[in-house]
Symmetry: C2
């Protein structure tokens, strides 16, 4: 990246920076940024700009950007908001290609600010300028060849391999402070502000091939372009872990939804699934973000999930075991050799099973010996070392002892040192490259679990999106017909026909206008069958008794008509009636739901879950963004909690899982072919042991009227 020029280089690798709005007033932003740049030993030239000063911070000050005699790559703008556009014009004319706009008062303050921001966006596009902000707290590039700190944070960033971006400027100071305390070093630290020009996606791509950035951390409140994000993230996370705190998690819950799939997708769990599908590691809090980040930043990726715990005290080891098991890790079983080595070395009171409790007498040599033995065991993928300092032993010695050993093994080692604050400050001085250290065992376990999940994702076999032979024209006709008649909701029959055109099996059916028609249709389908009212007004037919099942004879069908007509007229619904549907009665299957909803942010989401009334009550569903691969279709099915019900319990045979997976892929293809589809509910789909008996029993498809 250093050699090839990138449009973001004027921002991140400037040779010269103008601080427009530089100030002499201590504590003012315009002064603190100037001070930070100098303190951080910026490698290029700095030009303070302020019409009412000649010198700031002992540097010559310029009245405006135009009067700077040298080439300027980047302008950091700290002027009041009403001056921003004018300054941008000046910068544009001066040939400046990078801007960091700290100034606030744009779209975050309402309609007026939004207008100003729109003007700002147009202006920078017009000049071909790239911009971070507005409403941000600046950025840091720790590269020794650059050393750019244009933030007003009192805490400096340490140098390291983590690229960090935050949508909230307000969190910036706190974040730099915590990072320093836990010894987390950055390649870049970027406060994104309103993301008017440079977006999170731009930064991801900028860091994709940057050798200094090995881990990417994002604090997000919104995805600007989530479809693009998922594409980029899916690619990059194969190489570098991406950790995301996505805030604003619950606000979507309120979103009104007209279908089951839509209602389920409003849940935050849907976004979890999306991020997981892109290999992105989602964490819930900033605290967890940093815990996991230090885990990755100074450790290899684990090869498996078998963890060993080494300790000098029982309490923390129990806590660590609990936390590991809860987080889905497996307690390693040691080999005979390992057990023998530990037994020969340790006192008889020690425990040589996992967790290995060396008891309170353990010193730095015990830690070194036992850690080495454990790391050599092929049944161990990672080690958590816990240490509670007895009075006479210095925890720094223990850390240095661990460091000597762990460098010889390609396995992650995480430390839990339940010591006083002073220790953590000291260890960062004495052994800056030390293993990740935590105060509590739960933090280490949670971190290791995230690392294992990431490793598993990276190791997943490659899988293709399969293209099935389908009758695309037939589906197109059905959508056109609905649009032509001004409907956004396809009828049950149309919906079933669309499914059929895409190779998704549906129960045999026939339409009937009246009772006589119905009797003929029934003979064609054969008994037993189901009688349904067809009406676009009745969303949940079973609420109105509009579905009668298991009709075995013509007499029973006749009686059912009597009953139905009474009910409809009692409910005053006779007007809305469009006819009757006769459907073969499918027995013995397990009801599942296949669905799709168009998320305004993420695009089409496929859903799979237990069907029927279970959708609403147990909410056992899984989402994926489209298109889905073959592997993903199988994962969707396996990831519901109720999967054992499908796979068969107590000798019950499994339903035709391959067919279900295929149907999901076919649904994915349908959704990809027709952008106008807004919602699909195939509920229930009767999943049977036999492929040929598995069929959709009901379906609803909604399209947008606008699109063609």
């Amino acid at each position: 990246m250093t050699s090839s020029h990138h449009s973001l280089d004027p921002i991140f690798r400037p040779r010269s920076i103008a601080i427009v709005g530089a100030s002499r007033k201590k504590g003012s932003i315009g002064r603190e940024i100037l001070h930070n740049l100098m303190e951080y030993e910026f490698n290029g030239k700095i030009f303070p700009v302020n019409p009412s000063a000649e010198v700031i911070h002992s540097i010559k000050c310029f009245p405006n950007v135009s009067s700077i005699p040298d080439v300027v790559d980047l302008a950091v703008i700290v002027v009041p908001k009403h001056q921003v556009l004018e300054i941008v014009d000046e910068c544009g004319r001066r040939g400046i290609r990078g801007l960091v706009v700290i100034t606030a008062g744009f779209k975050e303050v309402g309609p007026e600010g939004q207008t100003l921001e729109e003007q700002l966006r147009r202006k920078i596009r017009q000049y071909g300028i790239r911009m971070i902000g507005p409403n941000c707290m600046g950025l840091i590039n720790t590269d020794l060849l650059v050393r750019e700190n244009c933030t007003f944070s009192p805490t400096e960033a340490l140098t390291g391999n983590v690229g960090f971006m935050s949508q909230s400027g307000a969190l910036g100071v706190a974040i730099l402070n915590i990072a320093r305390k836990i010894n987390l070093g950055f390649s870049y630290f970027v406060s994104m502000g309103n993301k008017t020009d440079v977006s999170g996606n731009d930064l991801l791509e900028y860091w994709e091939h940057d050798p200094r950035t090995q881990i990417i951390l994002m604090y997000l409140e919104s995805f600007g372009n989530p479809r693009k994000f998922t594409q980029i993230a899916r690619r990059i996370s194969r190489q570098k872990p991406i950790l995301v705190v996505k805030s604003g998690r619950t606000s979507q819950g309120a979103r009104a939804a007209s279908s089951h799939t839509g209602a389920m997708a409003g849940m935050d769990i849907a976004i979890d699934a999306l991020l997981e599908q892109c290999g992105v590691i989602r964490v819930n809090t900033v605290e967890e973000l940093f815990d996991v980040a230090i885990g990755f930043s100074n450790n290899p990726i684990p090869r498996g999930s078998r963890v060993a715990i080494l300790t000098n005290a029982g309490g923390p080891a129990i806590m660590a075991t609990d936390a590991c098991v809860s987080a889905g890790l497996i307690m390693a079983e040691f080999s005979e050799t390992t057990r023998k080595h530990l037994q020969d070395y340790l006192p008889p009171e020690a425990s040589i099973l996992n967790p290995v409790d060396m008891i309170a007498s353990a010193n730095k040599d015990s830690y070194a010996f036992c850690l080495d033995v454990i790391l050599k065991d092929e049944g161990v993928d990672a080690v958590i070392v816990t240490f509670v300092p007895p009075i006479m032993i210095n925890p720094i010695d223990i850390v240095q002892s661990i460091e000597r050993i762990r460098k010889n093994h390609g396995k992650p080692v995480l430390g839990v040192i339940m010591a006083r604050d002073e220790f953590f400050d000291e260890v960062n001085e004495v052994a800056p490259d030390h293993l990740p250290l935590y105060l509590f065992p739960e933090s280490a376990a949670r971190t290791l679990s995230a690392m294992v999940r990431y490793a598993r994702w990276r190791a997943r076999p490659h899988s293709e999106v399969v293209s099935f032979k389908v009758d695309r024209e037939r589906a197109a006709e059905l959508f056109s017909a609905a649009k032509a008649s001004g409907r956004d909701q396809l009828s049950l029959v149309e919906s079933m026909e669309v499914l059929r055109a895409y190779g998704i099996p549906v129960a045999k059916y026939a339409l009937a206008k009246n009772r006589a028609d119905a009797l003929n249709a029934a003979r064609a389908i054969g008994f037993p069958l189901v009688l349904k009212v067809v009406s676009s007004k009745l969303t949940h037919k079973s609420d109105f008794g509009g579905v009668i099942v298991d009709l075995r004879t013509e007499q029973e069908l006749d009686a059912a008509f009597d009953k139905l007509e009474r009910q409809l007229s009692a409910a005053g619904l006779t007007q809305n009636l469009e006819g009757y549907l006769l459907q073969e009665m499918v027995r013995g299957g397990k009801e599942v739901i296949l669905g799709m909803t168009l998320d305004p942010h993420y695009g089409p989401l496929l859903m799979f879950g237990l069907g029927g009334i279970f959708v609403e009550t147990i909410k056992d569903v899984v989402f994926r963004i489209t298109p889905i691969t073959q592997l993903e279709s199988h994962e969707m099915i396996r990831n519901i909690r109720g999967f054992p019900l499908l796979e068969g319990v107590r000798g019950d045979p499994s339903v035709a899982l391959d067919l279900l997976a295929e149907c999901l892929q076919r649904l994915s293809q349908l959704v990809g072919d027709f952008q106008e589809i807004e919602e699909i509910d195939v509920n229930p789909f009767s999943a049977s042991t036999l492929r040929q008996n598995s069929k959709a029993l009901d379906a609803r498809i909604r399209i947008s009227r606008g699109t063609t």
Copy 2:
């Protein structure tokens, strides 16, 4: 408590302390305890005991306990383990009534240590001595009239209203350190060690009426006497919150179990339910323990769950909102008046809805004004105030401003200050009684949620354990008969009879030896019916095709016999056959499970959940310890996730919930009457809309052969 004498007073309120094993060596435990007692200004007399020193730490040293001329209340023992028994003898003869044994090497190191510990226990019982430890790190009583610090921790405890006990001595130093940092003050700090004499239950009762202890914190690895714990905790938690970290959560998972109820109870969720039933607040980590503790320690109990958020920056407010909603809190809606006051006061860019974002320009006056307005709103039960320090505003001013306001309102206020470490140190100096302060919004939300749950528990209406009229003699006969024939497993018929004796409705049935018998029985019960094989060897009958349902005619029954006989002889099971059971076919009910398992630690646990194969797959079950009250029986039913299925979805009528609740209470009574019952599985119980159609369809009861 100070006036009436308690057997623990010699330990916690001694007038004089002997340190047996006092030492001059800096860093040694015997020296550090002596030093801490003096530094902490212990109000009584201290006597170092060591045969090889005349003076320690400038105090006269005694060669042994007997040579101390004054009365000694408490001896702190730090000698090597092989000297402990001898020292105890000396103490006993000297009339010392309290011991704190720091020395380790007892049951925690194996059988030999266990023997030594047993000897120690017998010895102190013989002398009537009360003892903390062995294998502990000592205790602290912060009472100004006592000032007893016999720990070897380098960090002192602050004075406050929290009683803390820890089963892990190793965590002690870390815990005192964190507590100091977050400004948490203690009434007592007790490292319990092996709990050979004084138990957690003893301490709970000691603190029950202690006015200095308002909150109780426990770090536990095991419950010594869980049945007693639940009784005591249930009583105390009505007055004082009890927070528990129970470690060793997952180890129980491995416990083998022979019934569904037993298998489910192995899950940690069962213990969660137990603690909840006692009003105990369970937290997962030590970190969370302290977060929640400071929330309670300086706040009133909230009246409801409606929370308002006041902030100067968007990011933390979004995080706080997410965390609050996820934790089950409700975002308060402001009154017209509140909105008007906020609107008149705040700049137009501010948000006056909840969260109230005063934007970055907010100063101490804005915080005071807006907090006052919000706290006055009757729709607000609690407030979380977040503050991200801009450069020019001192967070200390903000805290002092909040303090002035919150004292005038009886509502909890929690603060989130995303500032540097130095702030937290300073604020503890400047405003030691400040509101609970957190670095991250999630900690505040989690804490408030725990406070709301506790408030709800305290506000629960009183409910009685109902006593039903039952046929206890009949049940006793059935158990005796099984025992007499050497069986621990009651037959299906016996199990059903026991249920019937206790007023739990069961499906009509009859036993038949052979086909001819069966035909007669069938006529008596009436068709349709179910035919089951009776055999103590077949646990899951449906695995072997041993159950045939929906037999409508005598012909069908006959055919079923043919089929059954073929299957049994094919499986070689004809020998084990004890006969046939004919049962009325109950239709249309929802299958639930009622069960009971005897937990080796907690005693009888009642279980309720969705029945049939759902028990194993969805694992949607709830546990309670017995006896259950009327209210608890209803809560059990309502607390399963699948409750909507029972209550009725989509116009489906509710099942007879009252009957289910009554059956659970009757089961509770049965379990209380017969201690020998080890397991009951009523699975399925068919819960119908109509009370009279709700019936147990299958049941298994296991008893212990030993008890009479």
